[in-house]
């Protein structure tokens, strides 16, 4: 049967189980959109292509499926770059289809032509320029396979218009085999046995988990592992939700804005079992001083993560879930003795750190942003999917919303991409229609992709945006306060739109709280209405995020409240 490139694409998307595409049309992709309309695949029309990628990203993180975007050539393609880089840094599976000018025009500086494959080479897991319709089905299959396997990531497929239009005899591609790509899922058993030995010898062990645990679906295995061994757990920002935030063994997040006890424990531990992490500089601070007393175990599926920033005693390349499964089996076979008793002193020390410097703030006459997040946590019983923008709002969300489940905290960790939260919330709401999805935002970040409110309204997505509005680019202001003698250069955002009116202008609901006593009422109302909502919380302008480790300092040297 003869099918056009566009028709073939629909066939493969159906085979891959794609139910939603986030897109924005344009000249060279009209054929594909035309075919898309004939399928059951839902197409979400965003207002900017960056929003399409972030939405696909949120969809992937919340639902665990591969996100899909379809945009046009030229500016459509370049607008996706920030979203792609965000997904690349956080290892999120997305397939991005970009239109391209017809093959015979490539290189001619044709209208809306751009070398998007060249531009995105360093920020995709892999990318393709489809040079013939014959190659197209295999490339789409490979793109999905690469995006979701091994260490996941974004894969871009650039489709010239003639490739989409030409009709060929279509035969489905059965199996994908790439001789140069074989991710290692099964860890080396010998190495795992050494981990058990180290646990037996260790007096002050600590588990440090990251986004890899969530990506491989290993949260339950991690929890089991920690409980069996009675080892306390900290996670990176990306790992929040990999271990229950209400568990007694939970220490809170590690790093620049990590809790006092998590950072002190890292400094004092004699064994650090790191799983699915990459030792980002925001986690380690000064690398020489990081976990300097500890033997370090590092489990990760990506060999390049291991020994990149931190020397490791036991490197283990493998999938987090499979590795933890094996470790749990090995623990059952080994005799660790009375682990609870063994850990007594260590856990008592951690408890002391917790009591001397807990996360804290004082709720006075003005609304404290932390108070808003705490109230939100209370009212949602910790069950909402939280997306964030980037900056102080993100850190307060990470500190004061206690995540008990994976895939519930959706944030731009590696790239730190402002404008991520709102489109990501849209994607998350589509992946999980029955969940409450809240974007914890700042007044600066929200303005970066505010246009996506129109998408939410058009698609009837009841997402909630809680703006912690301090009329500053708060995190940079905080750095200026602490390290630049309070010279608030280009961080005062006191001229912002009226967010309540703005919400209404989009056809959403707008609410505002200016006094502490209004916070709960606004949250209750905002969370209960079935429409998209923007809640504008006028918070204390100069509240800062603490603890804070100055960039480049050891993480045990924290500025406290």
């Amino acid at each position: 049967m003869k099918l056009t490139g566009a028709q073939i694409m629909m066939e493969v998307l159906k085979e891959e189980g794609v139910d939603t595409i986030f897109g924005f049309p344009g000249g060279v992709v009209i054929d594909i959109f035309d075919e898309l309309a004939k399928t059951d695949i839902r197409c979400i029309l965003v207002r900017h292509e960056q929003g399409a990628v972030h939405a696909a990203d949120g969809y992937a993180r919340a639902g665990g499926k591969t996100g899909v975007c379809l945009v046009t050539s030229g500016p459509g393609a370049t607008n996706t770059v920030t979203g792609i880089a965000t997904a690349h840094m956080d290892s999120i599976p997305i397939v991005i289809f970009t239109g391209q000018v017809p093959t015979q025009l490539i290189g001619n500086d044709a209208f809306q032509e751009v070398d998007i494959v060249g531009i995105t080479r360093p920020c995709t897991k892999h990318n393709y320029l489809v040079q013939s319709t014959e190659a197209f089905p295999r490339i789409i299959k490979e793109a999905f396979y690469l995006a979701r396997s091994g260490r996941p990531g974004p894969v871009l497929v650039d489709i010239p218009k003639d490739v989409a239009k030409e009709a060929i005899d279509y035969r489905p591609v059965e199996e994908i085999h790439l001789k140069s790509y074989n991710p290692t899922y099964d860890p080396n058993k010998k190495q795992l046995r050494k981990v058990i030995e180290l646990i037996e010898q260790s007096k002050r062990p600590l588990i440090f988990a990251g986004g890899g645990v969530i990506l491989s679906g290993a949260a339950a295995e991690l929890t089991q592992f920690a409980h069996k061994t009675q080892i306390p757990v900290t996670t990176s920002l990306m790992g929040l939700g990999a271990f229950p935030g209400t568990d007694p063994l939970w220490l809170g997040m590690i790093g620049m804005h990590g809790t006092y006890r998590a950072n002190m424990s890292t400094g004092a531990c004699d064994l650090l079992i790191s799983i699915g992490v990459r030792f980002d500089d925001r986690v380690t601070g000064k690398t020489d001083a990081f976990a300097s007393q500890a033997k370090i175990v590092h489990i990760d599926i990506d060999p390049t993560s291991i020994r990149k920033n931190i020397p490791v005693t036991i490197p283990i390349v493998g999938d987090c879930k499979i590795s933890l499964d094996h470790l749990n089996e090995l623990i059952d076979q080994a005799d660790l003795g009375d682990v609870a008793k063994k850990r007594q002193n260590w856990l008592a020390q951690i408890e002391e750190w917790k009591n001397t410097n807990p996360l804290a703030y004082k709720q006075e006459d003005t609304i404290k942003p932390q108070y808003v997040v705490e109230k939100l946590y209370e009212l949602t019983k910790g069950e909402a999917i939280i997306t964030t923008e980037v900056g102080q709002n993100q850190m307060w969300a990470a500190q004061y919303y206690h995540f008990d489940r994976p895939n519930h905290f959706i944030t731009s960790g590696g790239l730190g991409c402002m404008g991520f939260g709102l489109p990501a919330a849209i994607g998350a709401q589509i992946a999980c229609p029955d969940k409450l999805v809240v974007d914890i935002a700042g007044d600066g970040s929200i303005q970066m992709n505010i246009q996506e409110m129109a998408t939410a309204v058009q698609c009837c997505l009841p997402i909630k945006v809680a703006i912690l509005n301090n009329a500053y680019l708060g995190m940079v202001r905080q750095w200026q306060e602490l390290f630049y003698d309070k010279r608030y250069v280009c961080t005062d955002m006191n001229c912002a739109p009226d967010f309540v009116k703005l919400a209404e202008a989009f056809g959403a609901v707008g609410l505002r709280a200016s006094k502490p006593e209004e916070v709960e009422t606004v949250l209750k109302e905002g969370l209960s209405v079935p429409q998209p909502v923007i809640m504008d919380f006028r918070v204390d302008r100069e509240e800062s995020v603490y603890p804070m480790v100055p960039a480049g300092a050891p993480i045990t040297e924290m500025l406290l409240v």
């Binding site: 060249g118 080479r121 360093p122 320029l129 001789k179 140069s180 790509y181 990506d302 390049t304 020994r307």
Partner: protein, 162 residues
Amino acid sequence: MEEKKHTMTMLVDNQPGVLSRVSGLFSGKGFNIESLCTAPTMDPRVSRITIVTKANPPLIEQTEKQLRKLINVIKLRDMTGPKAVKREMALICVQAKPELRAEILRIVDIFRCKVIDVGIEHYIIEVTGDEGKLAALINLFRPMGIKKIARSGTLALYREPK
């Protein structure tokens, strides 16, 4: 940590953009390239790239891991040390004044090079050898005046079991 010269070769898919992925990785990660050669192998779908880089051992390890991670890199092998044969070719245009012409030809003979172009004031000499031989030859010609030089960069092949 001490920086060391390091030679690696990789088999890659012979497709447009693959060389750019490899070299882009070096520039993007701040790794250094001393020399780079590429050409197809006996299998026209596969090319061999040879790269000489200079870095400390952890950075070399990271570079190799990053290269292996590229989807189009089929196989990567470390060619440093005696387990591989390494050769480089150079074309050297030497100033050949009448009084030095005989001396130049003697050197060419000793080093088993070839004169491939002769002019009133120059010879172009073709030489193949390892790094040491090329360095020695260049040192001898330098005082006479090297007008131009073109070097291929190192090529390497793993020795087969004897």
